[in-house]
């Protein structure tokens, strides 16, 4: 009976609660920390409001940012310029496997914070080759000489992954003077400076193919074990416009991501025979 009475009352008392969401009061945290490396990849910016005149993110350079590790707060300092980057200048704040870290700052009157932990490094990381070798080829068609370089080499990257964790792989040319692989022919001549990267995957193998690389020289292969914070950010990068959803974030009272990584590296060389 009470339900019936409440039904009549409630249907005529529809209250529409409009919640405000002030875009100017959202801080965007773009923060990554890597095991064994100094903290220098933390950036704070403001949201670009929809309908406003700004079209670039305004950096925040005056926030008091702390990293909390083992109960001690380590203050970060602006990296300089109007960049919004922050770094920790000392050496006593170490990024260690299995440890948890919390970043916090107070901006726009909001206590904003995020937590992450450093995952284990990839185990038994190995490459079956240290090079990708290209050969120059020349085909004389009579009226035209077709010149190009060709390689069928692959480099197999392997590691242990019994728990089907997520990994991420990058291949980066670190030569100071980059020399493009001449592919000639019909598809050559591109001006892009590619850096090979993969999407997060759960396998225990990745094959770097010869057509993945665009320059000769020394390359660093980095394999990172990634955690859920980054995976959420990556997987919500496609936002369907008909059912628009907020991207996942581990930043409380803010936006963006604070994620820890742990990786292994090795070197390969791309050479011309």
């Amino acid at each position: 009976m009470r339900q019936l009475l409440s039904l009549f009352c409630l249907v005529v008392l529809f209250a529409s609660c409009e919640k405000s969401d002030d875009p100017a009061k959202k801080v965007v945290l773009d923060g990554y920390i890597y095991a064994g490396e100094p903290i220098d990849d933390i950036r704070l910016t403001k949201l670009i409001p929809f309908g406003g005149e700004d079209s670039t993110a305004e950096p925040i350079n005056d926030a008091l940012v702390f990293i909390d590790w083992r109960g001690t707060k380590y203050p970060l300092v602006p990296a300089g310029g109007d960049s919004g980057f922050y770094k920790y200048p000392g050496t006593d704040l170490q990024i260690l496997e299995g440890e948890s870290y919390r970043i916090e700052f107070d901006y726009f009157g909001r206590d904003t914070y995020a937590e992450t932990s450093i995952p284990p490094a990839p185990r038994n990381f190995s490459l079956d080759s240290d090079s990708i070798r290209f050969e120059a080829i020349e085909i004389d068609l009579g009226f035209f000489v077709f010149r190009d370089t060709l390689s069928l080499d692959n480099v197999n990257v392997r590691w242990d992954n019994p728990a089907q964790d997520y990994f991420y792989l990058t291949v980066e040319n670190i030569e100071s003077e980059k020399r493009r692989i001449s592919q000639g022919g019909l598809f050559g001549g591109g001006g892009f400076d590619f850096r090979v990267f993969s999407e997060p995957f759960q396998t225990d193998e990745y094959i770097i193919r010869s057509n993945d690389v665009t320059h000769y020289g020394k390359h660093i292969v980095n394999l990172y074990r990634i955690n859920q914070e980054y995976l959420d950010l990556y997987e919500t990068r496609v936002q369907d416009s008909r059912n628009l959803q907020e991207p996942l974030t581990n930043v409380v009272n803010g936006l963006g991501v604070f994620a820890g990584f742990n990786g292994q590296s090795d070197t390969i060389y791309v050479v011309l025979k």
Binding site: L7, P23, F50, S241
Partner: protein
């Protein structure tokens, strides 16, 4: 107290109150022109007010009617009311009655003194009857459509142009039980949802239960649409031909030789693949969004292309009906509907790249969907008091989407392809027994078995299997209900439905109760309460050809729970000969709702755990409906108003409750039909509060591990913004005339007369390059309104001979 109640009930059941002057009257009610049986005819005996409703085969039984001095009134939507005095001359055991169709009555080109209604609000709570024959008088969007007409009723959303599915009292289309001669129909959309797959010319009767439905129905949590197909003319062959600017429609019916039976065949096919009328072009451009003014955001190489969308649909109804003696009727029914869109194209890039080589992109883009079903029904009137129906049915819905992009460069070629297939098969066996125990009690008992098999396949490049679901599940139900009239002013329907669902191995009890109180002749109070369960879900996949890529999955009790709903409805009605005022308030509490979201990833990602895409939630719907109907005279119609709120809670999507996507606070519908001589004019006006959507607040950038600056949209609370209000006016007119022995009708209708730009949805995109030069620029968030249909005219001609 209990002993008294028991004694009272027992006496009523045993019918000991029958006096020697009272008799039992039973018979069959048929159409005077075709001899087709008429279901759901309301029969009242005066002055005693004994009443009955004819069953699906037209049989009725009245108990305890005074033998002399009584008169029987037969009332059926679309038919002339008939009154018969009992004078002892008729056989009361075979009291067969023929009613005259209003459409026949209109041959004299005068409006009938009787009802010209298209709809009739039943005494039963939340139940409405539809007369398909009268729907031709309403304005339509190319086709006379039953489901589009249902959207003009209070409590059923009338602002969903892109789907003929029904949003009934805050429910979604998959929560409706759609029955066509007992077949479960799973997908009702023709032409991308512009109208439904049911041919109105082949349907005899439509019963709509908007909630609080009785125990004999189950398996869905929102509503029931129970359609009975025409069984064919038993007296003479007849052909009815209709053509409009989209399709042609033929209904042929004939009595069978040597036996007492009939056969009906109804076929409808569009000629949209041959003749693209302005009506078709308007609708097609809208559903494919070719008419939208969009920002030129796509990259292109500047090739020359050719796109010739090829679209057609058809549907087929066939029914064989045999009357075996006076007690048995068997019928075999077949239904098939299909839609086919071929949007394939070829783009030649050779010239665009300045090359002589043969370079082209061949796109094969084919979408098909359709229903197939058949049912066999055997009905037997064992005695005037006992009627039984056995039904076996098979129905299937399948959809197939295939996209192949084949790029050819000289002698080299490579291709990308994706294919999505969904097939749901339904085998249902039913036995329904009606037993008129006494004047006070009508008992219904039944068994219902349904077995579903569902396949959902999603392939990439012929070999990469993204999703491959094969599910089999069945449930068996038993129900019992008693329509109990302890006094002349009180009617109760008490029922219980029990279901066992084998996938989750659980038992479900669904009690149902409805009460009707008639303190005076014109005034009635009504209430209903019930629990409902649903074991199958349609998952919505948004795309511009909406409806064709949605897929069905069985509840598994884990990622897809069994849906449950509790309905509470109270109402009152005041009815005179000319007018009806009806008010109902309702509350539906739903659990086990499922929302499919891409939030956690890309459905084409082969590493994606399919179950992670589903979120479970609850919902609560509250609303109140008003209906003011003018039923008689040259001018008929109704004014309907619905105030409602549909609120969902999905903790996995948002901590706080949010409005459902189909939540519309206010909805007003005004429908008018006026008959003058040979003309019939009509108009419908619909106003609805704008639908909710999730609006963006701003953009931010995050650097991914690969160095790419990924743009993200920060959004406000889920569904916290509203689109502008929806409204439109449709008008129609038709003219009836005879040529020789043919009865003809021509008509025009105009949809959305004042070309209101109603918004289907808002699209948001981040633009970070100049659309003219394709050079990088600062990021901007662009908003594009994708509109619903503008003004659409239509013309039809109908010939009956």
């Amino acid at each position: 107290m209990l002993r008294r109640l028991y004694l009272f009930t027992s006496l009523s059941i045993l019918g000991l109150g029958l006096s020697a002057q009272e008799v039992t009257i039973s018979g069959k009610i048929t159409d005077s022109e075709t001899s087709e049986s008429l279901p759901y005819v309301h029969v009242v005996a005066l002055p005693g007010m004994q009443s009955a409703t004819s069953n699906i085969e037209g049989y009725f039984t009245l108990l305890a009617v005074p033998k002399k001095g009584s008169r029987l009134i037969f009332n059926y939507l679309g038919y002339r009311r008939d009154t018969i005095w009992l004078d002892g001359s008729k056989n009361l055991k075979e009291f067969n009655v023929e009613l005259v169709n209003e459409a026949v009555e209109l041959d004299v080109f005068e409006y009938s003194e009787e009802s010209n209604q298209s709809i009739e609000s039943s005494e039963e709570i939340s139940k409405i009857s539809i007369n398909p024959a009268q729907l031709q008088n309403l304005p339509n969007l190319g086709e006379v459509d039953i489901f589009r007409s249902l959207q003009l009723l209070p409590g059923i959303s009338g602002a969903n142009e892109s789907s003929s599915g029904l949003y009934v009292r805050g429910g979604t289309p998959d929560q409706n039980l759609i029955l066509l001669d007992g077949m479960n129909i799973y997908h009702v959309d023709h032409f991308f949802g512009i109208f439904s797959a049911f041919n109105a010319n082949a349907i005899k009767d439509v019963q709509v239960y908007k909630g609080g439905f009785e125990a004999k129905y189950g398996g869905r949590v929102s509503s029931v649409v129970d359609m009975t197909a025409k069984s064919g003319n038993l007296k003479k062959p007849a052909i009815n031909v209709t053509a409009n600017m989209l399709s042609a429609n033929v209904v042929a019916e004939t009595p069978l030789p040597f036996v007492n039976g009939s056969f009906l065949l109804a076929a409808r096919r569009s000629y949209t693949d041959i003749l693209r009328s302005p009506t078709y072009q308007s609708i097609f451009n809208n559903v494919t969004e070719a008419d939208q003014e969009d920002e030129p955001l796509g990259f292109g190489i500047g090739g020359s292309g050719s796109v010739e969308p090829d679209f057609f649909f058809y549907d087929l109804n066939a029914k064989l009906n045999l009357n075996l003696g006076k007690k048995d009727v068997v019928s075999l029914n077949f239904f098939n509907s299909r839609d086919n869109l071929d949007n394939s194209s070829v783009q030649d890039f050779g010239a665009g790249l300045g090359l002589d080589t043969d370079s082209k992109l061949e796109t094969t883009d084919v979408t098909k969907w359709g229903n197939t079903g058949t049912s066999f029904k055997w009905s037997r009137q064992w005695s005037p008091k006992i009627f039984n129906r056995v039904l076996a049915s098979y129905s299937q819905y399948d959809s197939d989407y295939e996209l192949i992009d084949k790029f050819t460069f000289d002698t080299l070629s490579f291709q990308f392809s994706t294919q999505q297939r969904n097939k749901i098969q339904d085998i249902t066996l039913r036995d329904d027994l009606e037993w008129k125990l006494s004047e006070q009690h009508k008992l219904s008992l039944g068994l219902w078995f349904t077995r579903n098999e569902i396949d959902y396949l999603n392939f990439i490049d012929d070999s990469v299997e993204v999703q491959n679901q094969n599910e089999i599940g069945s449930y068996i139900s038993a129900y019992a209900q008693d329509e109990w009239s302890p006094t002349k002013w009180l009617k109760l329907n008490v029922g219980m439905r029990f279901t066992q669902y084998d996938v989750v191995k659980e038992n479900y009890f669904e009690p149902r109760l409805s009460v009707l109180v008639k303190p005076t002749k014109n005034f009635r109070l009504k209430a209903a309460w019930g629990r409902y369960n649903q074991f199958i879900n349609r998952i919505i996949l948004e795309n511009i050809f909406g409806g064709s890529r949605d897929f069905w999955l069985l509840a598994d009790g884990e990622s897809i729970p069994v849906q449950s709903s509790e309905h509470i409805i109270v109402g009152a009605a005041f009815e005179t000969k000319d007018f009806l005022i009806d008010v109902e308030a309702y509350q539906k509490t739903n659990t086990g709702l499922v929302e499919y979201s891409l939030r956690f990833g890309d459905p084409y990602d082969t590493t994606q755990n399919f179950n992670d895409l589903f979120f479970e939630g609850t919902g609560i719907v509250r609303g109140i409906e008003f209906l003011l109907q003018k039923k008689f005279g040259a001018l008929t119609g109704w004014l309907a108003y619905t105030l409602s709120k549909v609120e969902y809670t999905f903790p996995g999507l948002q901590e706080t409750p949010f409005p459902a996507l189909h939540d519309q606070r206010n909805e007003v519908k005004l429908i008018g039909m006026y008959k003058w001589k040979r003309f019939a004019f009509s108009g419908t006006y619909v106003y609805a509060t704008g639908k909710p959507y999730t609006a963006p607040v701003g953009i931010y950038e995050i650097t991914l591990l690969n160095g790419y600056q990924q743009k993200y949209i920060h959004v406000g609370d889920k569904n916290s913004s509203r689109l502008p209000a929806y409204h439109r006016l449709d008008i129609g007119a038709n003219y009836s005339f005879n040529i020789g022995k043919t009865e003809n009708k021509v008509g025009i209708s105009v949809f959305n007369v004042y070309n209101r730009k109603n918004i289907k949805y808002r699209r948001f995109q981040i633009q970070n390059f100049d659309p003219q030069t394709f050079l990088p620029t600062e990021s901007k968030l662009l908003q594009t309104d994708v509109n619903l249909l503008g003004i659409v005219p239509n013309f039809f001609i109908n010939i009956r001979f």
